[in-house]
């Protein structure tokens, strides 16, 4: 980039102030959610915030940053955080994992009562609804009990969409087999809406993994997939500890395909029976697990 002689050149001014804006947004996102915007993702800030800028009649990121810093408007900062969170998801994402979950639930049912599943970082609801469909079908076919499914996210916008269970044509066609769409969704205008019986199968609530105490009540399985990728190591370790506190002994943790607990916590170890899932280890076995690892 050519260097202009005066510091008042518009290009130079925009460049520096924009960096300040980017820093302000990154700091806000991290303080609220623990999510870090690494350098290579920072270009997305502009795209992510454009609709909000337009809605507020602002032309530049700097104006938005100024509005944020000067007014301290909580509503605006919530909207910025929502817009910056990456909500990428789809139905039956990494499909084979769902078979493992069904297997795990069947094994638990053979031994005990009602199974409880926590879907942490549920985004717009495709993940908990995928679980709800699987278990509702099992219930229909052989009267198997429905597990409790609790879906949480830090983004209010994502939670509102999860509660509504309404998807565009593009969203409904990602990962969802057509027979399941026919069974569990109704056409509403150009969108597809989950049937009430499916929505009723899950409890949706707000929860910030980086700040809030673990959900009360003991869970058998926690899914937290593609959420912890951009948390700093310290926060990740804390989140794992909270998951351990929310799980019964031997409870399972399900992470995204590229994620692991190894090197980040002693509270979980790879499950022997269910490859790719992690098991809560009891205090006594923690040392052994670390030594073995």
């Amino acid at each position: 980039m050519p260097i202009r002689p005066t510091s008042t050149s518009p290009a130079a001014a925009t460049a520096t102030v924009s960096q300040r804006a980017v820093n302000a947004f990154s700091a806000l996102l991290e303080s609220r959610t623990g999510q870090q915007i690494s350098a290579y993702r920072s270009w997305r800030i502009d795209t992510a915030l454009k609709p909000l800028m337009r809605a507020r009649g602002l032309d530049t990121l700097d104006q938005l940053a100024a509005a944020l810093l000067e007014t301290g408007d909580r509503c605006l900062s919530d909207q910025i955080v929502d817009a910056l969170l990456n909500g990428e998801t789809s139905f039956f994402r990494e499909a084979p994992v769902f078979d493992l979950i069904v297997e795990a639930v069947a094994a638990l049912e053979a031994r005990q009562r009602r199974v409880r599943i926590w879907c942490a970082g549920c985004s717009t609801g495709q993940e908990p609804l995928s679980l709800a469909m699987l278990f509702a079908e099992r219930a229909e076919e052989r009267g198997a009990p429905m597990p409790d499914i609790v879906a949480t996210d830090v983004s209010e916008a994502a939670l509102a969409r999860t509660r509504a269970g309404r998807y565009t044509q593009f969203e409904i066609q990602r990962g969802l087999p057509i027979r399941r769409m026919m069974r569990w969704f109704d056409a509403v205008g150009n969108d597809w809406a989950a049937k009430h019986e499916l929505l009723r199968a899950m409890t949706v609530r707000s929860h910030n993994l980086a700040a809030d105490a673990p959900l009360p009540g003991m869970f058998d399985i926690v899914l937290c997939r593609n959420v912890l990728l951009y948390l700093d190591p310290q926060t990740k370790t804390e989140v794992f500890a909270r998951f351990a506190a929310a799980l019964r002994p031997g409870g399972l943790l399900v992470l995204g395909a590229g994620e692991t607990v190894i090197g980040q916590t002693d509270a979980f170890a790879p499950s022997r029976d269910l490859r790719g899932l992690y098991e809560r280890v009891d205090g006594a076995t923690v040392a052994a697990a670390t030594a073995a690892g």
């Binding site: 789809s90 499909a95 044509q169 593009f170 066609q173 990602r174 990962g175 087999p177 057509i178 027979r179 769409m181 026919m182 109704d186 056409a187």
Partner: protein
């Protein structure tokens, strides 16, 4: 390499679908109506067929019935790909033996996802 037969009377759709399918490592052939598609299947059955609904000469539904009644030894997977997006159409297609259904317009993610569902990607 898996083979896919794209059946659509629109040259543009065939081109778009071919492009996406080739990036997904498919070897692609094309037909512009059900009749041509049936001939192509008789000559060499593909692994999967991407099938439009409304076409001249022979519609997607008529093709599907003819394929079902034919004596082709291996039955290709059939993925409807059409602007007929109502539930009644979808149900009819599935009852007639289609394996999956893509509502147009589609993109790469949609196609890849549906092909994965039928075990082809």
């Amino acid at each position: 390499m898996k083979t896919c037969l794209v059946v659509d009377d629109s040259k543009v759709i065939r081109k778009v679908a071919r492009h996406i399918l080739e990036t997904l490592d498919f070897s692609v052939t094309e037909a512009c109506d059900g009749r041509e598609a049936l001939d192509a299947c008789m000559a060499a059955a593909p692994d999967v067929i991407l099938l439009d609904w409304n076409m001249p000469v022979m519609s997607g539904m008529d093709f599907l019935r003819a394929l079902r009644d034919s004596n082709i030894p291996t039955r290709p997977k059939v993925v409807f790909c059409t602007t007929e997006n109502g539930m009644a159409y979808i149900r009819a297609a599935i009852e007639a033996g289609a394996d999956e259904y893509v509502m147009k317009p589609f993109d790469r993610d949609t196609l890849e996802s549906k092909l994965q569902i039928v075990g082809m990607a």
